[in-house]
Amino acid sequence: MKKLYYLIFIGFTFNVVLSQEIPDAVRYAQDNLNGTARFRAMGGAFGALGGDLSSINVNPAGSAIFSNNQLTISLSTFNKKNESNYFGTTTSDSESNFDMNQTGGVFVFKNQNPTSNWKKFSFAINYENINDFDNSVFSAGVNPTNSVDKYFLSYANGVPLGAIDDNSNNYSRYAELDHGAQQAYLGYWGYVINPTDDTNPNNTRYVSNVTSGGNYYQENSIYSNGYNGKLSFNAATSYKDKLYIGINLNSHFTDYVQSTSFYESNRNNLGADYTVTNLRFNNNLYTYGTGFSFQIGAIAKVTKEIRLGFAYDSPIWYNLNDEFSQNLTAVRANTIEEKVADVDPRIINYYAPYELSTPNKFTGSFAYIFGKTGLISIDYSYKDYGDTQFEPENDPYFRDLNAEMGNILKASGELRLGAEYKIKEWSLRGGYRFEESPYKNNTTIGDLNSFSGGLGYNFGMFKLDFAYTNAQRNSQQPFFNQGFTDGANIKTTNNNFTMTLLFEM
C-alpha cells in the first residue's frame, strides 16, 4: 500500500514537472477583455462591426467603418475577488484599482474622387491595457499528507552536499548556485531537509526534516501587480464601401511583480532531534519586457444588414527579463527547545533575457444590423495555447518546457456575443463571453463566463458610455512547481465598471 502511494506520488510529480513557468507563459498568452465601455458592454463582439476603437484589437479593418474622426478615453475600476478552498478551509481576498485602461484616436480620410472605388482611408492609434495583473490571493488550510519539504527534496536530490554546505558570509554562497541548487541550499540551511550522509561532500541524497505525522497547516499568499499594455498603429481602407481591410502593428510592454509567501506549521510529536515545526518561504518575481505583434483583418458588408469579419492575430513576440529573490525562515524544535534558521541570502537573481511567443489567433465574426435601431453580433476566436514557445528554443530547459506546454495546454475557443438597441440618443447594450480553458485538464485554469451590460448616450459632438462586466473563472494552480504541487481551488470573480468619453469631429 505504501509503495502504491509512492508510485502515485512519483507519477504526480513527474506530470507536473517544469510547470513553474507555464503559468507565466499562459499569463501572457491569455488576454483579458478590456477596452471601451461600448466594446465591453457588448462582450467584445465587434469583429464584424468595427467602428469602435477597441474593435480594432479584434479586427483591424474596423477603423475604416468610422465615419468621423474620433478620440476616446476609457476609465475603469477593476475589482477581483478570490475565494479559496484548500482542503475544506475557505478564505477570501480581494483587490481593487482604478486605471485609464484605453485611449486612442482614429482619423478618417474620405476620398473625394467619386469615381474611385477606394472610398475611405483611415488610420488609428490606440493604447489599451489588455491585461490588468493586479491581484491578491490568499489560501489556507490543513494538508493531511504533504509538506513543502517535498519541494526542497525534489530539487535537492542530485545536488552534491559539497556544493551547498557553506553558509559563511551570510549565505552568500547562494548567489553562486544555479536555480536547482539554490532550492537545495535554502532547504538545507533551513534544516528542512537533511543529507542522508552529512559527512560525505559527494552525498546527493536528502530526506525530510519536517516533523512527521501529517496535518500540516499551510498558508499561501500571492500578491501581484502589473499591466500588459498594447499600443496599436492601425491603417485600414474601404473598397466600394463593401469590403474593408486593415492592418495593425502593435507594440507591447509589460511589467509584472509577484510576491508569494508560503507558511507551514505542524504540532506533531517532537523527539530528541530537532525537526522543523514551522517555516515561511518567500518568493519574489519581477518580469518586464516588450513585445511586437501584427494583426490583419477584413470586414464585408454582404448585404445592408449582414456583416462578416475575419481576422488573424500574429503571435506576440515578447522579450522578457526576470528578477527573482527568495528567502526562507524555519523553526526547528525538539522536546527541550527550538531554534530558528533565517536563510536570507539578500540576492536578486537575474537571468539571461528570453523570448516568449504566444499562439496565433483566428477570429471569425458575424453581425446583423436592424436598420438604425439595433444589432446583434457574434465572434468566435481560436487559439492553440500548445504553440506557446519559450526561446531560445534549444535551451535545454526551454526545450523541455515547450514540450511540456504542448502536452498540457490545448487549443481553445472563445465565443463573444453582443447586442445593442437604440432609442433615439440612448443605446442599451448587453453581452456574453465564454472563454475555454487553456489547459487540457480544464482545472488549472477553468472556463470563463462573463456577462456584461451597458448604457450609452449620444450628445452629438461627444458620447458617454458606461459598462458593467462580471466574469467568473475557477482555477487550481499548484503552490509550487514541483515536488509539492498541492494547490487551492480558487474562484475568481471580476467586477468592472468602465466609463468611456468619446469625441467626434
Binding site: 506520488f9 475557505t90 484599482n97 536555480h179 552529512d198 518575481l285 527547545e337 518546457l401
Partner: protein
C-alpha cells in the same frame, strides 16, 4: 558589482517608457485632432459608422450653395454685361479651388463659419495634455528621480539586496541539461528514509542557529480564529498603494486538525515561542 546598476536602469526605463508613451500619445492625438480635425464634416448626430450614415454631406451642400451663388452672380454679370466683371471673377476663382481639386483634399468644403467655432473645442483638449511644456510638470525630470525611491520598495527587494547573474533558468533543476533528467532520480529518495542516520550532527543540538526569535511567523488561525489582520512586521514590505487590499478570513471547521494534535506532552516551552507571532509579514 559593476553589474548591479544595470537591472535598475532597465526597469526604470521600462516604467519611464510606458508613461512617456502614454502621455506623448495623448499629446500627439490632441495635436492631431486639434490641427487636422477640420477636414471632416460636422454630421455629428448621425455618425455611427456601424449603422451607416444617411447620405448627407453638408460641406458639399454649402459649396454648391456658394457655387450657385457665385455662378448666379456671374450669370447676372453676363446678362448685364457690366464692368463689374473683374472683381466677381476673383470670387469665382477662389470658390473653384475648393471643389474636386484633389481627391484626398483634407480641407475640402469647410465653410467659413466652421473655422471660428472650432477653437472652443480644440483648445479645451489640446492644451492641458499637449506637448512638453505641459508634459513635464506631470512627468518630467523633476519627478522622474523620486521614482527610484518609490519604485523599489514596491518590489519588495529593498536596497540591501545585491543583484547576481544566474546562468541557469528560473524554475530549472540542478545542473539542468548537464545532469540529464533528474527526475528519474526522484524515485529513490522516498525509499531511502530508512538509511537515515539518526545520529546526524545536523539534527543534534550542535547546529548553528543564527536567530532566536520567531516574529516572522503568523499565528495559527486555529488558535485565534477571529479575523485575521495582515499587519506587516517587516519594514520593507511596502507595496505601491494604488489599490486597496481587503482580506476577510473565514475559518471553517477543521476539527480533525485540532483534535489530531497530540503535542501536549512536550509543548510547554514550545507553545510560548509560537505565540510570539505578529502576523503575516510579507517580504
Amino acid at each position: 558589482m559593476c553589474n548591479n546598476k544595470n537591472p535598475l536602469d532597465m526597469k526604470t526605463n521600462i516604467l519611464l517608457s510606458k508613461n512617456v508613451t502614454l502621455y506623448s500619445l495623448i499629446g500627439f492625438l490632441s495635436v492631431l485632432v486639434t490641427s487636422c480635425g477640420s477636414y471632416q464634416n460636422s454630421s455629428y448626430y448621425d455618425s455611427d459608422g456601424i449603422y451607416g450614415n444617411t447620405a448627407r454631406e453638408p460641406q458639399s451642400v454649402s459649396s454648391t450653395q456658394y457655387k450657385n451663388y457665385f455662378s448666379s452672380l456671374q450669370d447676372e454679370i453676363k446678362v448685364s454685361n457690366d464692368t463689374i466683371i473683374i472683381p466677381n471673377q476673383g470670387y469665382t476663382e477662389t470658390n473653384v479651388v475648393n471643389v474636386y481639386n484633389d481627391p484626398w483634399n483634407m480641407s475640402f468644403g469647410i465653410g467659413f463659419g466652421y473655422g471660428w467655432g472650432y477653437p472652443y473645442y480644440g483648445y479645451g483638449w489640446g492644451y492641458p495634455y499637449y506637448g512638453y511644456g505641459w508634459g513635464y510638470p506631470y512627468y518630467g525630470y523633476g519627478w522622474g528621480y523620486p521614482g527610484y525611491g518609490w519604485g523599489y520598495p514596491a518590489y519588495g527587494y529593498g536596497y540591501n539586496n545585491n543583484y547576481s547573474y544566474n546562468s541557469s533558468r528560473r524554475g530549472s533543476s540542478y545542473a539542468y541539461g548537464v545532469n540529464g533528467n533528474r527526475y528519474s532520480q526522484n524515485q529513490s529518495y522516498t525509499d531511502r528514509t530508512s538509511n537515515y542516520n539518526n545520529t546526524s550532527t545536523r539534527r543534534s543540538a550542535t547546529s548553528s542557529a543564527t536567530r532566536n526569535n520567531s516574529s516572522f511567523m503568523t499565528r495559527d488561525y486555529s488558535q485565534n480564529n477571529t479575523t485575521r489582520t495582515r499587519t506587516n512586521t517587516n519594514a520593507n514590505s511596502a507595496r505601491s498603494q494604488n489599490y486597496s487590499n481587503t482580506r476577510t478570513y473565514t475559518p471553517s471547521s477543521n476539527n480533525n486538525y485540532n483534535s489530531g494534535s497530540t503535542r501536549s506532552s512536550s509543548g510547554g516551552s514550545y507553545g510560548g515561542g509560537r505565540s510570539s507571532g505578529g502576523g503575516g509579514g510579507r517580504r
